[in-house]
Symmetry: C2
Subunit: 339 residues, 2 copies
DNA sequence: CTGTTAGCGCTTTCAA
DNA sequence: TTGAAAGCGCTAACAG
């Protein structure tokens, strides 16, 4: 390995001068800089990151924590896309990203512990948010820089988080259905433990309420990716005297499952029932029918969370506590006029 | 930050003794160990990874390089799943994974350079394989430990890679179609620049040949995720005098697009045309019809590549050059008897 | 503008 | 079985 000393020797200066050239210190003459840089190039010198980190007490790395990978939800294209967003900004600041994909809550926790105790990273992005989460609590206690993508379960005004306005999105997309003449509108969501689900559902309810439409509990289903249990719930929904004519589904992936199930029962979309959902992953373009969905700008969700974290961890600034990424409705073919 | 010195002071021994306790050196008395460990616990000591790495000349981290994220292909659930596989084994050996998601080839290359020059990682897993790839060449030149998931474009007998037997998989799944009575079988694949596509296609061809079925060039389409261009190709395929009755599709995601397109043209699956594909991502269960597909065991692909890399980088062993992950066909509803 | 010196936190000879 | 001392590669006062 070629070190700073080798470069120093080769260019006839002291190690500290070389160090200053690396840092592009302004008090070094252009001439020396040139000379040193030449030597660096010739020797193929590259700074050793560990040595640098040791003295700088920074790692130039951030940790990204995925939700429990026991869950099929991890296969949601949401994640690659958010990683892409994070990647874009950390690339610019020459940071690297350390990814944690634990199976269980315990595993995740132990990885986070390693990250912070071992000074592996300067900060952490949490790609999930759970009620009374061990990891979140730990990070808070340690006063370690972190941001959450989504809504924190507690200390919302204290923890920096990057989120959509899911309430408003839910309201708007439901309103679209209402504007199209729908009155009997159902909601299909993932687990109510997730704030995304709740917020979107609350928005849905608010829209109904404002439109003077009465809510109906049997119009609401909560299911994980429509496996076994989901099927029965849908069956029940369809067998109602007056089944809904419109469906608000909390995630494109769930929509995919719904589409499949509805076809099984001979229900056509959008002729028999209209359907809208959220995320606008590329899949929603190639379903039949293509989905009318809320584009939540996943990439930006990732990019902004990385930006906020960097502000916090590196620049020691205090970013806004709540950063909202704008959404927009993408109109496609899964909605038809009613009545 | 609490350091080894603090622990030493607190437990009345020297820093080197503490270090030995951390390494669980056998020449330290149990008594001292107990004493030191107690102090570590009380003080909340955790070794600083950078300091350790600096002397150990190892980083306990591996780099994982994604394909260009400019590509929609990144949204393939294949990736989260493979990361999960990698994560499982590196968690066990207490390694961490540094993820690189570059937009362009240049960006990816510069990130890899940083990783190896800066000693960020002990080894690298390449999640893609391209002909004449800058990154691969660089890694080879530097003699840096790396493994490829998929098939290397060159030096196949030299570069450790973890792959499926895509040729055989292609042949087997095509044979399934043949056994079901199909004679006119088409192939829909992604870019031919990818070895997966080629291998699967070669297997498809071999199956036809063995069955004495003549190949037909107009039965073959290559397309990226069936966007604009793909549509015309499919239209062409369907308008043939004798359109295929069976389709071998090289990726579940492309199948999803195909399904959508076929419906548009009023072609029913499997009644009018049968369809099989590859990967068995969870999506293939919830399409209509559910796909008969080759399960390539993505998780294992990830896990084994991590294992091989660790053998190489850490244990300095020479793993097998070609590690084949077994596949199996999952029979679902997208194939029907013909004739 | 540049060199000398000390030190980041840890491991590892060498000595005792 | 333990301690003292040197050094990993780099940065940052301090001094000139």
């Amino acid at each position: 390995m070629v070190t700073i000393k080798d470069v120093a020797k080769a260019s006839g200066v002291s190690p500290s001068t070389v160090s200053r050239v690396i840092a592009n210190n302004s008090r070094i003459s252009e001439e020396t800089k040139k000379k040193v840089r030449k030597a660096m190039k010739e020797l193929g010198y590259h700074p050793n990151i560990n040595a640098r980190n040791l003295v700088a007490k920074s790692t130039k790395a951030i940790g990204v924590i995925m939700p429990s990978s026991a869950d099929k939800a991890l296969q949601n294209p949401f994640f690659p896309e958010i990683l892409r967003g994070i990647g874009s900004v950390i690339h610019d600041v020459e940071y690297s990203m350390s990814l944690s994909t634990g199976e269980t809550e315990e595993e995740i926790f132990s990885e986070v512990q390693r990250m912070v105790y071992g000074s592996y990273v300067d900060g952490v992005i949490l790609l999930y948010s759970r009620i009374n989460d061990k990891v979140t609590n730990f990070l808070r206690e340690q006063d370690f820089p972190f941001v959450i993508v989504g809504k924190p379960s507690d200390f919302e005004s204290e923890i920096t988080h990057v989120d959509n306005d899911n309430f408003r999105a839910g309201k708007e997309i439901t309103n679209h259905l209402i504007e199209m003449g729908h009155k009997r509108i159902g909601f299909i969501g993932g687990s109510r433990d997730l704030f995304v689900t709740r917020d979107r559902e609350d928005g849905y309810e608010a829209a109904l309420q404002e439109a003077g439409i009465e809510e109906c509990d049997s119009y609401k289903i909560h299911t994980e990716f429509l496996k076994a249990g989901g099927s029965e719930a849908v069956e029940h929904l369809l067998s109602l005297q007056t089944p809904p004519t419109g469906l608000v589904v909390s995630d494109d992936l769930i929509s995919l499952g719904m589409l499949s199930m509805l076809e099984k029962y001979g229900v056509r979309v959008p002729q028999d029932v209209s359907m809208v959902s959220f995320n606008n992953v590329y899949l929603s373009e190639i379903t039949r029918p293509a989905l009318t969905t809320v584009d939540i700008n996943i990439y930006e969700l990732g990019a902004q969370s990385a930006k906020a974290l960097i502000e916090k961890a590196i620049n020691k600034l205090e970013p806004a506590k709540r950063i909202i990424i704008p959404h927009r409705i993408v109109y496609r073919d899964s909605v038809s006029k009613e009545g």
